[in-house]
Amino acid sequence: MTAAASPSASDPVAASGTAPVLLRVTDLQTHFVTDAGRVHAVDGVDLTVRRGQTVALVGESGSGKSVTGLSIMRLLQRTPARLAGGEIQFTAKDGVTQDLVRLPEARMRAIRGGEIAMIFQDPMASLNPVFPIGEQIVEAIVTHRTLGRRAARAEAARLLDQVGIAEARRRLDDYPHQLSGGMRQRVMIAVALACDPVLLIADEPTTALDVTIQAQIIALLRRIQTERAMGMIFITHDLGLVEEIADRVAVLYAGQVVEEAPVETVLARPRHPYTRALLDCNPHRVLAGTIGAGSDLRPIPGRVPDLVAPLPGCRFAPRCGLAAAACRTETPVLRPVGSDQASRCLFAEAVS
């Protein structure tokens, strides 16, 4: 059950795509039933995460990135959300692969926390304010592992130490409100690691933090991920962060993956106009040295489309500088462009 992470599944292997597949999402459909109609929040997402690999899901508000994460964890309420289609094939620690979409809730409960853990933007909303943090970590440990409370408490202290909390044993009795935002996020990470998950889903874990603290948490996640050869899905709106942490990136737009490739490829040679546009409007790229000073930010004109009744054709076409007549009638599919890159654009080869 403890399944110590084999250090052999190191970064380069995962990045090169030869490590065993941990999670394969195929044509995922998550809909919300609302008064205004059925919202296709996730509309055919494909995603592969290998052991020891970090895959970033990038997109703006409403792109479906968080809903994808929550769908994998099956954390969405039956009303109004529906897992309307697709497969989530997950390989657990024991090597058995099962489709999480069809797994009974009782067995899903063992997966959640025990196999796949999730951390969120706001740790205060995930931590219980009336219990000391130590107890919350202990609870996570005893739920999934066969450890007594005393041993679990020692394990909790070890975990806190591992996530960089000084004097861990003493801090076990602290309440969440006594900690800073960065410390709370460290505690959340400790809770997530309590049962030695093989996959961590991190949903904007640093968005609410100051930049210097963000850098600390990113460094921590990177270290933990490498040490444990854990798979990670890192959800973010910030392409700069993707560069810091991910091996591969899937860019989401209006509930669909529009581009998928290794991080360096996407940043250097995007093959979807939306990715290109996202790069062109990111203010950090000047300061990060990726583009020269004085370059104007180019906003993306228009708005994200209506997900209740999406128009035919490419969803990005109304905002796209490259759009031709065909883009409004033909629906593009995610197709390979080059050796290790995929794009959902009819004119992917023309994107520069």
Partner: protein
């Protein structure tokens, strides 16, 4: 940029009581902003950067006199605001406006946008019922909205559009000074770029003077001529934007730049993240407030508060160490 200063801030500070005095003892205070000085020339944009708790929002409120200062002086167009009476403050308010991070909470949800804009004009006697309609239409167009948007309620707008309304609202009284407190922080990147470009365009066209508060150095770089770096209520560095960001002279500024996601040093390596967290303002470190996290701190740093000293014309730093090489060799293209 013209030479005449519109705003002069001199040794401004603000403390807040945190515990009332008990049994005749003095109560405890927290210094949110301490000893901040700068001048803002007409038409200039000063970026104020710092992390949570650095005092940047408090500073914005002090400049607008939404909050009285505990120490120091603030002059607007030559008038001392710290001693100004209600009449001259009222005149000042027409000339100084604020744009907040969250437009939804700064717009009246039950008031149509046109009415909200017209009200601002009427309060300051800038339009009557007849002229207001045209002026509202012009104003909406100047922020990239349509004249018929005037009949909508704030909730009918997207986040970016709402921020446009908030900007129109600030411009309605033809101010000379705008304090923008994190105006793009809550927006998606694509919308962020739109609003930044809009603010930049308006600032240039109307020669607005602006205090632009942000936690994001990259955003400040795009809009500000000069940057003020705050940490725990004190100025760490102040200077022309390009100089401060390309050749920082304070270790904290260096650390902020290094923390920008995706940034690599000249040799391609990642900078080590700054250790620790911002200390409690209730018990700030002695001497230099940054020393507890500073990789270059020496014993002397605990003894004296480093004065803000000029290192180049218009570029000053508050650091005792003059021997640091903080450039990483990367120059902008």
């Amino acid at each position: 940029m013209t030479s005449r200063p519109l705003v002069e801030v001199e040794g401004v500070g603000r403390r807040f009581p945190i515990r009332p005095g008990l049994f005749g003892r003095a109560g405890a205070h927290v210094h949110a902003v301490q000893d901040v000085s700068f001048v803002l020339a007409t038409g200039a944009v000063l970026g104020v950067v710092g992390e949570s708790g650095s005092g940047k929002s408090t500073l914005g409120r002090l400049v607008l006199r939404l909050l009285p200062s505990s120490t120091g002086r603030i002059r607007f167009d030559g008038t001392d605001l710290t001693t100004a009476g209600p009449d001259s403050l009222r005149r000042f308010r027409r000339h100084a406006q604020m744009v907040f991070q969250d437009p939804y909470s700064s717009l009246n949800p039950r008031m149509r946008v046109g009415a909200a804009l017209a009200e601002a004009m009427r309060v300051h006697g800038l339009a009557n019922r007849a002229t207001a309609r045209d002026r509202v239409a012009d104003l909406l167009e100047s922020v990239g909205l349509k004249p018929d948007h005037r009949d909508r309620l704030p909730r009918a707008f997207s986040g970016g559009q709402r921020q446009r309304v908030a900007i129109a609202r600030a411009l309605a009284v033809e101010p000379r000074l705008i304090v923008a407190d994190e105006p793009v922080s809550a927006l998606d990147v694509s919308i962020q770029a739109e609003i930044l470009n809009l603010l930049k365009g308006l600032q240039e066209r109307l020669s607005l003077t602006m205090l632009f508060i942000s936690h994001d150095l990259a955003v400040v770089e795009l809009i500000a001529d000069r940057v003020l770096v705050l940490y725990l209520g004190r100025v760490m560095e102040l200077g022309p934007t390009a100089q401060v960001l390309r050749m920082p002279r304070h270790p904290y500024t260096r650390a902020l730049i290094d923390a920008v996601p995706g940034r690599r040093r000249a040799d391609g390596s990642r900078a080590r993240p700054l250790a620790g967290e911002i200390p409690s303002p209730i018990a700030p470190p002695s001497g230099c407030v940054f020393r507890t996290r500073c990789p270059f701190a020496q014993p002397a740093c605990a003894e004296t508060v480093p004065p803000l000293t000029e290192v180049a014309p218009g570029h000053a730093k508050a650091c005792l160490r003059d021997d640091l090489m903080l450039e990483d060799g990367r120059q902008a293209a």
